[in-house]
């Protein structure tokens, strides 16, 4: 068992960049939310890596808080997604560009 800690750190970097790529590219709000989840998860991997490097429980504690944040964020994101779908009948993020009531 000898994984040098830069290897999982590089993996976290790669996953974060994939999430960022998805966030920049996709217009569908489902994919935007999923990309944010990918990036949060990569941050969690980096915390675990740091916890492994120093043999410290703080890495896993921060992972619990990352999950906490992801859950709260996703619940709100999904509710807003459903409301947007009901109002504009599309999931296009670019369609929601009028910050006022259309009525």
């Amino acid at each position: 068992m000898s994984i040098a800690w830069p290897v999982p750190a590089a993996l976290a970097l790669g996953l974060f960049l994939l999430g960022l790529l998805g966030l920049l590219t996709r217009r569908n709000l489902v994919f935007v939310l999923m990309s944010i989840e990918i990036m949060l998860n990569a941050a969690g991997l980096l915390f675990i890596t740091a916890g492994m490097r120093w043999g410290n429980p703080d890495g896993q504690i921060m992972l619990i808080f990352v999950f906490n944040l992801a859950g709260a964020e996703l619940a709100l994101g999904l509710v807003l997604l459903l409301r947007l779908r009901n109002r504009l009948t599309t999931l296009d993020g670019d369609a929601a560009d009028l910050l006022r009531d259309t009525a």
Partner: protein, 163 residues
């Protein structure tokens, strides 16, 4: 154990790449759930068994299943799938890929410049150690987390009401 780590890392990267390039959201989410399971394997090989269990139970089991159910409730038809395919046509990927590659080059430089003498002793952090630290030293953070969840609950209830 090393082979398990590298296999899981490669598969996690592959399934994540597949997840962000699918046109069908349900397929993409299932690939992402798969990537989370590989991530749990990675956590386990890095000596964080409690983190691995949480990744499967909380993240893949609860959060992503909620996401999946809501996506299925959206009832996407053929038209929206075709429109999605137009949105991710090739030229759209050019500028984001250039930006992400630039960022990767800048962030990977400090990682590559580290010399190879950094193999720390391998520690397994037990769930017991995590629990003791979480509920003694970090109690204030637990309270803040519960407030965040309460705020999320109230906001989701308020926004989700029928008008």
């Amino acid at each position: 154990m090393n082979a398990v780590f590298y296999a899981a890392a490669a598969l996690a990267l592959l399934t994540t790449a597949l997840a962000i390039t699918r046109s069908n959201p349900v397929h993409a989410l299932l690939y992402f759930v798969l990537s989370l399971l590989f991530m749990a394997v990675i956590f386990f090989t890095l000596g964080a068994p409690f983190g691995a269990a949480l990744e499967v139970i909380v993240y893949a089991g609860a959060i992503m299943v909620l996401f999946l159910f809501v996506t299925m409730m959206l009832a996407l038809d053929k038209l929206s799938l075709r429109r999605e395919r137009d949105w991710i046509a090739k030229p759209i990927w050019m500028v984001p890929i250039i930006l992400v590659v630039l960022l990767a080059a800048e962030l990977a430089r400090p990682l590559l410049s580290l010399h190879a003498g950094l193999q720390a002793a391998f520690h397994i952090v037990t769930p017991q150690a995590v629990g003791i630290k979480l509920f003694t030293g970090d109690l204030a953070a637990v309270e803040l987390a519960s407030m965040l969840l309460l705020a999320g609950l109230v906001a989701a209830f308020h926004l989700g009401r029928r008008q």
